[in-house]
């Protein structure tokens, strides 16, 4: 198993956000996590990436059998975890290419490979840019500075494709995208699907899952996964809404049989 989340409890500033999450994801799989606002989706993404403000109070996360929570954010990235941010950060003064080169070299160094040759890097970058139909001018601009919402999201997928992760976590990469941009992002992700790579697609809406068809769908409500199923679960949610999932949770709490 590539990723195993066991009874994960997470607090932020003393408020418990995740209240016992269990999840298992293997190489070659795409899982979607769906849930309403405030259900803890982004918290889960940030904890996987190693954000220190989030306090894990209980449970554990195994990544390739190793204790993920013991690893610093940069170690996780070097071990193949990539988080596409919901809100990519603008970094004035750091050019997009410089940043990507530094990141790629850090990962290569970890794997015992030499720093990438400037020409090879340029070739790689050019190839991957086509994948997300990104304009070359965005390469030399400071990271995300002045990028439109869609450009930022595409830039995240571009970074992902250059860094070639084993586990990619997409935190609401679809939100705020028009249909064309959504298609570009989804195509980018689909082209990276493969037997060695796993995706965790976190989303509020079912729409992106028309393009990236998941193997499993999990519904996160109030810090707990209340339902898991195949891709049809996403469609069911789209029709019935999160209210239905919340009722499901209430029913579970009352001890009634689930999904009746």
């Amino acid at each position: 198993m590539l990723l195993e989340i066991q009874n994960l409890h997470v607090s932020v500033d003393g408020n418990e956000i995740l209240k016992g999450v269990d999840l298992a994801l293997d190489r070659g799989e795409v899982h979607a996590i769906m849930g309403p606002n405030g259900s803890g989706k982004s918290t889960l993404a940030q904890v996987l990436a190693g954000r220190e403000e989030y306090e894990v109070t209980e449970g554990r996360i195994l990544y390739d059998g190793e204790d993920l929570l013991e690893m610093a954010p940069e170690e996780r990235a070097r071990e193949g975890i990539f988080l596409a941010f919901q809100y990519p950060v603008e970094i004035p003064g750091v050019s997009n290419t410089y940043f990507l080169k530094a990141a790629l070299n850090a990962i290569r160094k970890h794997r015992g490979e030499p720093a990438i040759d400037a020409m090879d890097f340029l070739a790689l970058v050019r190839e991957k840019m086509k994948l997300v139909k990104m304009e070359e001018t965005l390469l030399n601009r400071p990271v995300n500075e002045g990028f439109s919402g869609g450009e930022k999201k595409r830039n995240e997928i571009f970074h992902m494709s250059v860094l070639d992760p084993t586990l990619a976590v997409l935190d609401e990469t679809d939100s705020g995208l028009d249909i064309d941009a959504l298609r570009i992002v989804a195509d980018g992700v689909s082209s990276l699907r493969g037997p060695e790579r796993a995706f965790l697609v976190i989303t509020h809406y079912q729409r992106i899952l028309n393009y990236i068809v998941p193997d499993r769908v999990h519904v996160l409500v109030d810090g707990r996964i209340v339902q898991s199923g195949g891709p049809e679960l996403a469609e069911e949610l789209e029709v019935k809404g999160y209210g239905w999932a919340e009722e499901h949770l209430a029913a579970q709490a009352a001890g009634a049989p689930a999904g009746a």
Binding site: G50, P73, E74, V94, F99, L104, H159
Partner: protein, 466 residues
């Protein structure tokens, strides 16, 4: 007052044992050594300077202009001078000490060692005909009318104790004259190297470089000033630089302050700009224990442009103070100031930026920005922008920021595989690169980048990335 009478006065002050006393010492000897090598007008300026310093004394923190800057470490010090009329006479730099500071791409080099001209290190062969670059001492003999037309006419010693002190001891420094319409293509480099050597009584050295740079009408040049010394040694550098840009002259000016972190550096720079001239300063301040840069520009004719860029980067217990005064005295002038500071450990910085728009200076466009990055909880900045506007059709903006590295940005970089230290260094580099990137002399830009790669933790990661 005659020289003897003055000597009596200084002797009187010396006996009273004020902090100023030791800084008045040697005035009489200097005046005798200079006799016959300059006009009475210059001797009179020096006399007025030393008198004014004796009256003003060292500034106290009760004075508005010195509110955050404690000069007691200088006032309490006991320093020796080098040069004519002193016991030391001349001093040579140790073998190989000067060369690392020379800029290879410069066409000419004028080098001073402990305030005295060092012809053995200087190379003036590349100067175009008509352009003069020499020690001030020689210029006073050879071009008295050129020098006296401007010397001490721009940098006022009436209100500023360190300008008065410098004027009272002025004898040597750099003199540059670029004749009208001349174009000096290669950078002119002036290096002020301090050895850190002490005298027989163990006293560190003080130097009072007095610099005068004159660009004639439509002349163009690039000037690089470097102040440097070996790491850790103590000395006091008190330069005053006056620059005159004639009509339509263009000057690109770099000041690299890389003194020993044990040194005191109290510098005043006064620029006088005539109509249509264009001036750019890049002031990089990295060294010194206690540093003050007074940067005063006067845009005195219509259509002038003044660009003032600066970067200070300090750590330990370093203290750096920039006092900027931009005077718009004529209409249709532009001034753009961007000073950035990076402070680590227990260092402190002061930035005081005044834009003064005189009556009649309509259509002034003046911008000023001071941005500071604190890398430690113990570092401290006092930033104080000021506007004084006496014209009604102007555009003036100013702003100052003090902040720390953005945690979100650090996490974002780390989540892509860049280590914590390297992520922080990359962000610091990015902050500085705004100023570094504006340096047009590529050798200086590379030197500064190299400095940053060496100074910043995990700098090699930054070097690879950029």
């Amino acid at each position: 007052m005659g020289a003897d009478a003055m000597a009596a006065v200084t002797e009187e002050i010396r006996k009273s044992e004020t902090p100023e006393s030791s800084f008045l010492a040697g005035y009489g000897e200097l005046e005798r050594a200079r006799a016959g090598r300059e006009s009475e007008a210059v001797a009179k300026l020096r006399r007025r300077g030393i008198e004014r310093f004796a009256e003003l004394g060292f500034p106290s923190m009760r004075q508005e202009e010195w509110r955050f800057t404690n000069v007691a470490p200088i006032a309490k010090g006991d320093f020796h001078r080098v040069g004519p009329g002193t016991e030391v006479g001349t001093r040579t730099a140790p073998e190989g000490a000067v060369e690392p500071w020379l800029i290879e791409s410069a066409g000419t080099h004028l080098v001073f060692v402990d305030g005295q001209l060092a012809p053995e290190h200087s190379d003036l062969a590349g100067l175009p005909p008509g352009t003069v670059l020499s020690g001030l001492g020689d210029a006073l003999l050879e071009h008295p009318e050129l020098v006296e037309a401007h010397l001490a006419r721009h940098a006022s010693f009436e209100a500023h104790p360190f300008v008065a002190l410098n004027t009272g001891h002025m004898a040597e420094g750099a003199f540059l004259f670029v004749p009208p319409r001349a174009l000096v293509t290669e950078p002119i480099h002036v290096l002020y190297y301090s050895t850190g050597a002490t005298d027989a009584q163990g006293r560190p050295a003080v130097a009072y470089p007095r610099n005068l740079m004159i660009l004639g009408e439509a002349a163009q040049a690039t000037l690089v000033e470097t102040y440097a010394g070996p790491e850790g040694v103590e000395y006091f550098n008190c330069p005053v630089t006056e620059i005159v840009c004639g009509p339509a002259a263009v000057l690109d000016h770099y000041k690299m302050q890389q003194e020993s972190t044990g040194a005191f550096h109290m510098a005043t720079f006064q620029l006088h700009q005539e109509r249509g001239s264009s001036y750019a300063l890049h002031s990089i301040s990295l060294g010194g224990a206690l540093v003050r840069n007074d940067v005063n520009t006067r845009l005195d004719g219509p259509g002038c442009e003044s660009i003032l860029n600066g970067l200070y980067m300090v750590r330990g217990r370093q203290f750096v103070d920039h006092h900027m005064k931009v005077e718009h005295a004529a209409p249709h002038c532009h001034s753009f100031e961007l000073f950035k500071g990076i402070l680590d450990e227990r260092s402190r910085a002061v930035f005081n930026g005044l834009i003064h728009v005189h009556p009649g200076a309509q259509k002034t466009d003046a911008k000023q920005s001071n941005q500071n990055l604190l890398l430690s909880d113990q570092a401290l900045v006092n930033s104080h922008p000021q506007l004084l506007i006496f014209a009604d059709d102007v555009r003036c903006t100013h702003g100052s920021t003090v902040g720390q590295l953005d945690d979100d940005a650090v996490f974002y970089l780390r989540s892509r595989g860049i280590g914590d230290e390297a992520a922080r260094s990359l962000l610091v580099y990015a902050f500085a690169s705004d100023i570094v990137g504006r340096i047009k002399v590529s050798e200086l830009r590379r030197d500064l980048e190299e400095f940053l790669f060496t100074r910043l933790p995990k700098g090699e990661v930054v070097r690879q990335a950029v």
